[in-house]
């Protein structure tokens, strides 16, 4: 299984990520998720979210999840990018792509990975209110 994990301060470049996709002739499904910062958090208008990661543990926990995915589903490739630092409204903070033989397992694995990430990967967010970002 191809595994690519990027935890970065840089903006997520979907086009560049697309260009790097590897997919063999046995694969029939790609599921792709983008999490984008919304203009409000708990009913308050915000301009950005600041993400903080405990990077070495986050990487380890993501790798444990990838390991579990490889055992559970016949996935050919999982790629995940999480942006950290200040991410403005309307910009993506998370990009996930799963390549698998069939649609059902690609959707199941993608949703499972995001659910588990939100349970175990040490990344936290802090909303940035309207006046705090230049």
């Amino acid at each position: 299984m191809i595994r690519q994990l990027i935890i970065t301060h840089d903006p997520i470049d979907e086009t560049a990520l697309l260009a790097d996709r590897k997919m063999s002739a046995g694969m029939g499904a790609v599921v792709y998720f983008l999490g984008v910062v919304r203009g409000e958090e708990d009913g308050q208008a915000i301009t950005a979210i600041e993400y903080e990661a405990f990077q070495k543990m986050a990487e380890h926990q993501f790798n444990l999840l990838f390991e579990a995915m490889a055992k559970r589903w016949p996935i050919e490739s999982v790629r995940l990018v999480h942006r950290i630092g200040v991410v403005k409204v309307n910009e993506p903070s998370l990009w996930v792509e799963i390549v698998a033989p069939h649609r059902g397992e690609a959707f199941a694995a993608c949703q499972w990975l995001i659910d588990e990430m939100k349970r175990v990967v040490p990344i936290w967010k802090r909303p940035v209110a309207s006046t705090a970002v230049g």
């Binding site: 999490g35 993400y51 903080e52 990661a53 405990f54 070495k56 543990m57 986050a58 990487e59 380890h60 926990q61 999480h82 903070s93 998370l94 995001i114 990430m117 939100k118 349970r119 175990v120 990967v121 040490p122 990344i123 936290w124 967010k125 802090r126």
Partner: protein, 81 residues
């Protein structure tokens, strides 16, 4: 023995520091260290039920026995994505 303690996310604000070092007797558990820190930093103590505990890069149960040189992390529920 000595262990390093890291606070992440807003736990840094609750304790006023990003890390500290604790001197402990041999055989002390992760749970016992958590109790000690909760007493030392009352605002951290107030968050005890929602605190996540890790040693190095792995989550560990409260019964986990610490070793000299361990790096312990305390943090609130995670919120990636």
């Amino acid at each position: 023995m000595r262990v390093k303690v890291l606070f992440h996310s807003y736990f840094k604000d609750l304790t006023g520091c990003a890390e500290t070092t604790e001197t402990l007797a041999e055989g002390v558990t992760l749970g016992a260290l958590h109790e000690k820190l909760a007493a030392q930093f009352p605002k951290l103590g107030a968050m005890k039920k929602s605190t996540l505990l890790a040693v190095g890069v792995d989550y560990q149960p409260r019964e986990h026995v610490l070793k000299d040189g361990d790096e312990v992390s305390l943090f609130p529920p995670v919120q990636g994505g």
